[in-house]
């Protein structure tokens, strides 16, 4: 029942913010917007680059994930931690990192004298792969976690090669994770805006999000903003529907918990494939990260660490991120519980995937639009101002929901399938189930919590809308510094932010997930 309430609350808030925006809409002018050729050019380009970005991210992620599962090597754990953080790197920091590596006077040019055309489609793709390939890897690894140990044992006994095991075992599980990951990354790239503007080279490469930003921040044209947001939602929904239609249903098998340690036959080709995967990682993801950490060696770094404002901002960030992550995980659990409640009942059997998609919908709407809509609603109810902190927390929580769901839902389904008969026959219900399942799902809860925490820590959009003197988060502080020419201090703050993310992610997987989780992920 609480689960239903949670999902209901989510729906209510979503509807409220949408309704507030729609109240300001004016249908006849919408037809006018639809006739602008530029708008359609933008839509076409957004689709194209998002398709490419998510496709490439996944193509690279598959061999990388397989390699990480099968091989132990020095720095593997560190790499995985780094992967977790990549998605929250503030765009401007990531862009500067990419520039240091691939730019005109960058490392690549200095080392081998090759200069790539960074500004244009190449730059956009590089940045998007940097942000999303690691994310895809982590989702794929979760798919791997669902492979029963018996299958690995059998593969080992039968002397499967890496390719055979991929073809006959891994692919079967990966292909269930792929569509969800694909849609998620597609949406992230479709609405990507700061990266596209900075590395795109000019307005030729633009996304719908720019138009939404302009409508809200410069023109305060709620009518136009709601139109564009709806257009974006429609396109993404259409895309998601198509993908899910052709995708295999995410049906979990009754399976045992994965235990690693079965060696497969190694071969030259397997080594080659793994080297390729690692090479891609070390070219695309690691150097920009190293570039971000570069300021550690500058003399300014220590001075920056000593500033009070920095630690105040850190505190504010935590004050926003921790509650947001809690809310997000709670919401995610509500969604999961409701989905599997439906799964067990014949009449509702069609619902679980719908519920899951409902949670993902949120990514299609820009955070700015949600926050604005929510604020307008609350303003009309008479408690606009005092609630701004909670709006920031709430919007951050719902923006992280798709990631939380990706992490939670598969495992929750799996437990349901394993234990349903036991539960029914023994009459075990609600809370008692939690105690039983906790050791089995805590890894996933930890990961979900970690994602939500990191996303809220790195949030720039919503906090910028509601920030004030007392509410300056780390990313906002970073932008203040850069905005006042203090680039190097800004770079140092970015290092602090990213280190904080790493530490918190480690802590959440360690304390919520338990020791085993830490070893595995």
């Amino acid at each position: 029942m609480p689960a239903l309430l949670g999902v209901g609350f989510f729906l209510l808030m979503g509807a409220a913010s949408l309704a507030a925006l729609l109240r300001y809409s004016d249908l006849p002018t919408w037809l006018g917007y639809l006739q602008q050729p530029y708008l359609w050019r933008v839509v076409r380009f957004s689709l194209w680059q998002a398709l490419l970005s998510s496709g490439i991210s996944l193509l690279i992620a598959i061999p990388v994930a397989s390699c990480l599962i099968h091989r132990q090597f020095f720095g593997r754990a560190a790499l995985l931690q780094l992967f977790a953080v990549s998605m929250v790197v503030p765009t401007i920091v990531a862009i500067l990192g990419l520039v240091v590596v691939y730019g005109r006077t960058g490392w690549l040019n200095q080392l081998i004298g090759v200069q790539i055309p960074l500004y244009g489609l190449v730059g956009i793709l590089l940045a998007h792969v940097f942000f999303n390939m690691p994310l895809a890897v982590r989702f794929l690894l979760q798919g791997y976690d669902l492979i029963p140990s018996g299958q690995w044992r059998q593969a080992s006994q039968l002397g499967f090669s890496r390719w055979a095991s991929f073809r006959w075992i891994e692919w079967h599980y990966i292909k269930k994770v792929l569509p969800g990951a694909f849609v998620l990354i597609f949406m992230l790239c479709f609405s990507s805006f700061a990266v596209v503007l900075s590395l795109g080279g000019g307005p030729k490469f633009s996304t719908l999000e720019v138009a939404i930003y302009q409508a809200l921040r410069f023109d305060f044209d709620l009518n136009k903003a709601s139109f564009l947001a709806l257009l974006q939602v429609s396109i993404c929904t259409l895309f998601a529907v198509i993908v899910y239609r052709i995708a295999p249903v995410n049906r979990q098998d009754v399976s045992l918990i994965a235990v690693k340690g079965y060696a497969l036959k190694d071969s030259f080709w397997a080594k080659l494939a793994d080297s390729f995967a690692l090479f891609c990682t070390f070219i695309l993801v690691v150097p920009p990260f190293l570039a971000i950490f570069d300021p550690v060696f500058s003399p300014i770094f220590m001075d920056t660490l000593q500033s009070v404002a920095l630690w105040k901002a850190t505190l504010v960030s935590l004050q926003i991120a921790v509650p947001a992550a809690l809310v997000s995980v709670l919401l995610g659990i509500c969604f999961g519980v409701l989905a599997r409640f439906c799964m067990a009942r014949q009449y509702f059997a069609f619902l679980p995937s719908k519920i899951e998609h409902l949670g993902n919908m949120i990514l299609m709407v820009p955070g700015l639009v949600i926050a604005t809509g929510l604020f307008l609603t609350l303003r009309d109810l008479g408690w606009g101002f005092k609630s701004s902190y909670w709006i920031v927390v709430w919007v951050n929580a719902v923006m992280a929901l798709p990631f939380v769901l990706r992490a939670l839902i598969p495992v929750m389904y799996q437990q349901e399938r394993r234990f349903r008969n036991v539960y029914v026959s023994l009459g075990i219900q609600s809370w008692s189930r939690w105690w039983l399942e906790w050791p089995l799902i805590r890894t996933s809860v930890a990961q979900a919590f970690g994602y939500a925490l990191l996303l809220s820590l790195g949030d720039m959009g919503v906090i910028a809308l509601f920030g004030s003197q007392g509410l300056v988060s780390l990313p906002l502080y970073l932008f203040q510094l850069i905005g006042s020419y203090k680039l190097e201090e800004g770079a140092c703050v970015a290092v602090v932010l990213i280190s904080l993310c790493l530490v918190l992610f480690y802590c959440s997987s360690r304390f919520i997930g338990g020791v085993r989780a830490h070893v595995k992920n």
Partner: protein, 337 residues
């Protein structure tokens, strides 16, 4: 004796409780000023202005930091008539008409005759608080032959240029108007020529300027006063503003008070204060822009080289407001060919 000490204890604790609560009992009025983040930050002019004004107003100043010029206005519009904002500080010349149209602003009643902006100042809603001009900044060590006019920036195909998107940033909009006032009806052709050697068009000033400092471009659109920052704060004098023989387009930042300001008297006083030395003396090395009145103390020498424009190009605010959309479309069409 015992009872006496108990009473003392009791009374002292009462007094200390009273002291602890006194900030609430004698709560001063708080003036809420919406501004952009780098203005209110610790190294910006904000903290000094807060201290200077609080000395004379017996009030408290609270800065609400938004992420951009556009953010200030949209926040006020978002909150509407029930906004707790008293003063909006940091709007751009080109946002004035849009801000007026929102119907949220009141008249300031400040005597602006001392304002030193070229052409004087007569607006009844807005008080200017700092000024400068848009200019292309270059590194004099890597670019020995800098452009001397806007036309050279546009036509020199070897010059790699970074500027900001006029849809998302005020400098970008500034360049749009600069181009319009120099090229008029031929602006579309000029944009096309500029596009062929533009490195990238960024979302905001910070992206553009950081890319430039990383060596990605020869020139970047910024302010005439930018080099002064590098000289004063970093002791670095290789960054220079390129002159433009056609004249420069001004950036004037303005403040306005809200019609429904919760503290109208304080807000009016603050509007007056904007043109006082207590405010103006903090502008140069806090916000890296020029003051709008004549100050007794001299600015740091670095500001002497902040270009005096050959001509002050400025389009009437009404015309800008009317044509902004059309001009942006023109830019879009020309640069996406």
């Amino acid at each position: 004796m015992n009872s006496f000490s108990l009473t003392t204890l009791f009374s002292t604790s009462l007094v200390s409780l009273g002291l602890a609560l006194s900030p609430f009992a004698l709560a001063k009025d708080t003036l809420n000023v919406y501004t952009y983040d780098s203005f209110s930050s610790d190294w910006g002019p904000g903290p000094k202005i807060k201290a200077n004004f609080e000395k004379e107003c017996d009030c408290e100043v609270n800065f609400v930091a938004l992420d951009s010029s556009g953010g200030i206005l949209s926040r006020a519009q978002l909150e509407g008539k029930s906004s707790k904002a008293d003063v909006l500080l940091g709007l751009d010349l080109n946002l004035m008409e849009a801000a007026k149209k929102s119907g949220l602003l009141g008249q300031h009643g400040v005597d602006t005759s001392a304002v030193t902006i070229a052409g004087g100042w007569s607006d009844k809603t807005f008080v200017p608080f700092d000024q400068g001009h848009f200019a292309f900044i270059y590194n004099s060590e890597t670019l020995p032959n800098p452009p001397t006019s806007l036309q050279e920036v546009v036509d020199n195909q070897n010059l790699r240029v970074i500027y900001q998107d006029p849809r998302t940033s005020t400098p970008g909009l500034g360049l749009l108007l600069w181009m319009k006032s120099v090229y008029g009806d031929e602006a579309a052709d000029a944009w096309e020529r500029l596009a062929s050697h533009t490195v990238t068009v960024t979302k905001g000033w910070s992206d553009a300027y950081s890319l430039f400092l990383k060596g990605e471009a020869d020139v970047v659109l910024s302010y005439t006063t930018s080099p002064a920052y590098h000289v004063v704060a970093e002791g670095e004098d290789k960054y220079k503003a390129a002159p433009a023989s056609e004249g420069l387009y001004p950036q004037i930042e303005v403040a306005a008070m809200m019609e429904n300001a919760p503290h109208p008297v304080l807000a009016k006083r603050f509007m007056q204060f904007i043109l006082q030395p207590g405010f103006q003396s903090t502008v140069a090395t806090g916000n890296w822009m020029l003051p709008v009145i004549k100050l007794d103390e001299k600015l740091p020498a670095a500001f002497d080289s902040a270009l005096k424009p050959a001509k002050n190009l400025v389009l009437p605010a009404k015309q800008v407001a009317q044509n902004r959309k059309a001009w942006i479309d023109e830019w879009l069409n020309a640069t996406t060919q």
